[in-house]
């Protein structure tokens, strides 16, 4: 089963950067931006069975190959992150799209596998109950102030805790 990719020409898009412009734009990213992208590739690759190298290369390949448009006005980094996220979603078991259509046993199975991955990730934070609570809330889609409120921490404490979570997850993904 594969997912459908809406063709680039059919989607809202800005004028595309040319192939050489795309390469140049990626090549001339700052050190910090390159590190940002690598870190994000690691995070998203953790949701797939592939490595971050593969994920990043595929994103570059799609941008250069023109199968994904790169809008001129859009923040370059954000687009590249969006492409990686989309690819990771695609590579992940694709029956997710129909989990609401139970009782398809295949969906139920995939859902269970995905949940096992989530359980493993949450277990990784077992030594830090507050971090674990935040991770679970993130998995449930909570964001921003809602997360801070759930954690019961002050803003500064929460920011520190969140950074620790991110750093631990990055190492988990290594």
């Amino acid at each position: 089963m594969t997912t459908l990719s809406i063709a680039a020409e059919d989607e809202p898009q800005a004028a595309r950067l040319s192939r050489s412009e795309v390469i140049e734009a990626i090549r001339t990213l700052t050190e910090a931006e390159k590190i940002t992208l690598l870190k994000i590739a690691k995070i998203y690759s953790r949701t797939t069975s592939f490595g971050h190298d593969d994920l990043f290369q595929e994103a570059v390949c799609r941008l250069i190959g023109g199968s994904r448009a790169l809008p001129r006005e859009a923040p370059f980094l954000s687009v590249l992150v969006g492409v990686m996220r989309s690819i990771a979603w695609q590579w992940r078991s694709e029956a997710h799209e129909s989990v609401d259509e139970l009782p398809d046993p295949r969906c139920a199975e995939t859902s269970a596998i995905a949940s096992i991955d989530a359980v493993k990730t949450v277990d990784f934070f077992a030594d830090d109950p507050i971090a674990q609570k935040i991770v679970v809330a993130m998995m449930d889609g909570a964001r921003g102030e809602e997360l801070q409120h759930l954690s019961g921490l002050s803003k500064v404490e929460y920011e520190t805790k969140r950074r620790k979570i991110r750093r631990r997850f990055e190492k988990l993904a290594d």
Partner: protein
């Protein structure tokens, strides 16, 4: 505990953490890189190496695609006899594909929705063999047209007979009409004189639809049916093509409603999207004792969506495939039809496609692209489409700042490129 997590829990976690990375100051990232790899340069070198590999991968893929095309061209002079059966199949295929493309073509200056997005990825072994895990995308960008679906083939055959399903004595359309006329108030069919133009007939039908009695709606049905029958096989670029398509869509909506008299809130402007209201079908009954027949509706819609490339029909057909109503549930086909209508500026289709992209249902999840479609839909949505505004607001609230920026860039640019469709 396993069942307590959503299937996309890890993706949501990754979304949140990647937002954190994007919001982390540059100097902090560099310090972390130094901590992880002694020097940020090591990570930058890794990045550059991956960039080179990604570029090589793109070149390889382009080369494979070129070779595939060259190979196809080389076969012709070398083995004409052996290729004869292939040519015969190809002619049939192209005929079907031509019909399919024509059906899906947009009046707006955009590519066919078909979305080259074509989902029959298994039919592209060359690319799949090289890099199986990216086959989907490779196929999505491949120019080869997809063969028409069995339903479309059936539709093609149906066209070949030049007979509208409404013309058959035994069609549910006629049955329905009979029942509607029989059980509701007697509905004298307004005579259609030669002088009465198609737009004038449809204007009368629309006015009747706004009426409160079942008899009015039965008359409206009769007019729509007559227009559909008389112009069923009109050329797609004929003078009454769009009116005919609208009449067919209106008929299909009668079949989708199928409910007892007296429950109608149908207006001349048609039906509101019901993505958030699965029970709305009962709220839009045209009146008369009409048997709900989504299968018949799908047949009608498919003709209007393919032959006339009508965006409302394409959207309604997308809904049927999304919900599995009268057709086998198929989110991919639904997305394809939504994309067809969305590129023409059909706001409900734009919103539906946006939701599917945001949720990763039937299509690869892409929040920014999904939000861009929702943004376009939100701008075009009328007061009778509150669900679009709700969907937009909900998605924006959950999206990251960078996704919103990208989405708006996409949407603004699309509006510039498609001023006509955007102004719909």
């Amino acid at each position: 505990m396993v069942a307590n997590f959503r299937p996309d829990a890890l993706s949501r976690l990754a979304d949140a953490l990647s937002e954190d990375v994007l919001n982390t100051p540059a100097e902090e990232l560099l310090a972390e890189a130094a901590e992880d790899a002694q020097s940020p340069r090591a990570l930058v070198s890794e990045f550059d190496a991956n960039l080179r590999r990604g570029a090589r991968r793109a070149s390889r893929r382009r080369l494979v695609e070129r070779l595939r095309r060259i190979g196809q061209g080389f076969l012709w002079p070398v083995a004409p006899l052996a290729a004869a059966p292939v040519v015969a199949v190809a002619v049939a295929f192209i005929a079907g594909a031509h019909y399919f493309d024509g059906a899906l073509r947009s009046t707006a200056p955009v590519g066919p929705p078909a979305t080259s997005a074509v989902y029959e990825s298994s039919k592209q072994p060359a690319v799949a063999a090289e890099e199986p895990k990216v086959a989907t995308q490779a196929v999505a960008s491949a120019p080869a047209p997809a063969p028409p679906s069995p339903r479309l083939e059936a539709n093609t055959q149906q066209r070949a007979t030049s007979v509208s399903p409404l013309l058959s004595e035994s069609t549910p359309a006629n049955d329905m009409l009979g029942r509607a006329a029989g059980t509701a108030a007697p509905a004298p069919t307004p005579p259609a004189s030669e002088a009465e133009s198609v737009p004038a007939q449809l204007a009368i039908a629309d006015r009747l639809l706004g009426g409160t009695s079942a008899g009015d709606r039965s008359q409206a049905f009769t007019i729509f049916k007559r227009v559909a029958e008389e112009h069923w096989n009109d050329p797609a670029d004929g003078p009454h093509a769009q009116e005919t398509a609208e009449a067919i869509v209106a008929l299909a909506r009668f079949y989708l409603s199928g409910s007892p008299p007296g429950t109608s809130t149908l207006t001349a402007s048609g039906y509101a999207e019901t993505a958030s209201s699965p029970t709305a079908a009962t709220a839009r009954a045209p009146g008369g004792s009409i048997t709900r027949d989504p299968r018949q509706a799908s047949t009608l819609l498919e003709h209007a969506a393919t032959h006339f490339a009508n965006s409302d029909a394409q959207y309604e057909l997308g809904r049927l495939y999304r919900d599995g109503d009268g057709v086998a549930k198929d989110p991919k086909v639904a997305a394809r039809w939504f994309a067809a209508a969305a590129t023409k500026g059909q706001s409900s289709a734009q919103a539906s496609l946006g939701i599917m992209l945001v949720e990763g249902r039937g299509v690869a999840r892409d929040v920014a692209r999904g939000l861009s479609w929702l943004t376009l839909a939100n701008k075009a949505a009328g007061p009778k489409e509150p669900w679009i505004k709700e969907a937009y607001a909900k998605t924006v609230a959950r999206a990251s700042e960078s996704d919103v920026k990208v989405a708006h860039a996409y949407a603004d640019s699309w509006l510039r490129d498609h001023p006509v469709a955007g102004a719909r």
